[in-house]
Symmetry: C2
Subunit: 146 residues, 2 copies
C-alpha cells in the first residue's frame, strides 16, 4: 500500500479495526460472481444473520439472512436468469464501510439492458455484510445492442 | 430515457418527487469542477444551510453551510492547491439519493497521488445537497508517475 501523507493519516484516523480492505474487496468480487451465476445460497452466506438489504435504497428493507436469500431468488426468478454483474472501478473502503460501483447486464430479452448500480455495504468484525444499500434509478437503465 | 421493464417500474416505485436526475447529475459534475479550481464559495452554495458532511464517512460530521465552506477551505489550504477531481462512471440516482465514484489527483508533491473516492449525497426538494458522505480509506491512495 502507498505510504499515506500526513494529512490523510490524520483524516483517516477513525478507520481502525474491522475486516481488512483485502477481505472487503474480495466480498464485493465474490458477490458479483455469485450474482452472475444466480447462487442465492452463496450470496446469503456473505450476509450476517440479522443483515438488512435495501435494493434499491429507496425500497422497504429486507431483514434477516433467510428473507434476503428469498429476495435474491425472487429477483433472479423474475429476470429468468442471464444477469451479469461486474465491478466498475475500485471498491472504496472506509473502515467497516465500503462502496463499489457495479454494472449489471441482463440478457434475457431480445436486447441487452445495462443497469448502473452502486452498493454501499457495512461489515461486521466477523467480515459478514450487516447492511447493503443499492443506489440506482430510472436514469441508470440503458438499452444496448443485443 | 430507456423505457423501463415492468420489474424495474415496480422496484423503483418509491422514487417519486425531488429534483430531476439531470439536476443531480449536474450538481455532481459542478461539484467536481468547483473542487478542481478550489472554489469554496461555489461548493458551499451547492449545500443546504443545515447540510451535514462526513468526508471521509468515518469522521465527525461537519454541520452547516458556513462550517462546510471553512472545512473545504482548510482542506484546499493543507493540500497547497493542485487537486483535480473527476467523475468515474455514471452517477447512480435513486430519488432524493445519489452516489458517484470520483478520482482525485493531487499534484502538489513531486509525485502524483491518485485517490479513489465515492460520494453519497442526499438532496432536498430545492435541489440542494442536504448530506454528503465520502467513502474512501488507506487502500484508495495510490502513487502515480509524476
Amino acid at each position: 500500500m502507498t505510504e499515506l501523507p500526513d494529512s490523510a493519516r490524520q483524516q483517516l484516523k477513525e478507520q481502525v479495526g474491522g475486516p481488512s480492505a483485502d477481505h472487503i474487496r474480495r466480498v464485493f468480487e465474490r458477490y458479483a460472481a455469485l450474482f452472475t451465476v444466480g447462487d442465492t445460497d452463496g450470496i446469503a452466506a456473505l450476509y450476517a444473520e440479522d443483515a438488512v438489504v435495501r435494493d434499491p435504497v429507496t425500497s422497504p428493507a429486507v431483514e434477516g439472512r433467510e428473507n434476503i436469500r428469498a429476495w435474491y431468488q425472487s429477483a433472479f426468478d423474475s429476470m429468468g436468469g442471464g444477469m451479469e454483474m461486474k465491478l466498475e472501478g475500485a471498491v472504496r473502503i472506509a473502515g467497516h464501510l465500503a462502496a463499489g460501483a457495479l454494472i449489471v447486464r441482463t440478457h434475457n430479452h431480445e436486447t441487452v439492458m445495462r443497469v448502473e448500480t452502486l452498493d454501499v455495504m457495512e461489515f461486521g468484525d466477523d467480515g459478514l455484510i450487516r447492511r447493503m444499500d443499492a443506489y440506482f434509478g430510472p436514469s441508470n437503465y440503458h438499452m444496448e445492442q443485443g
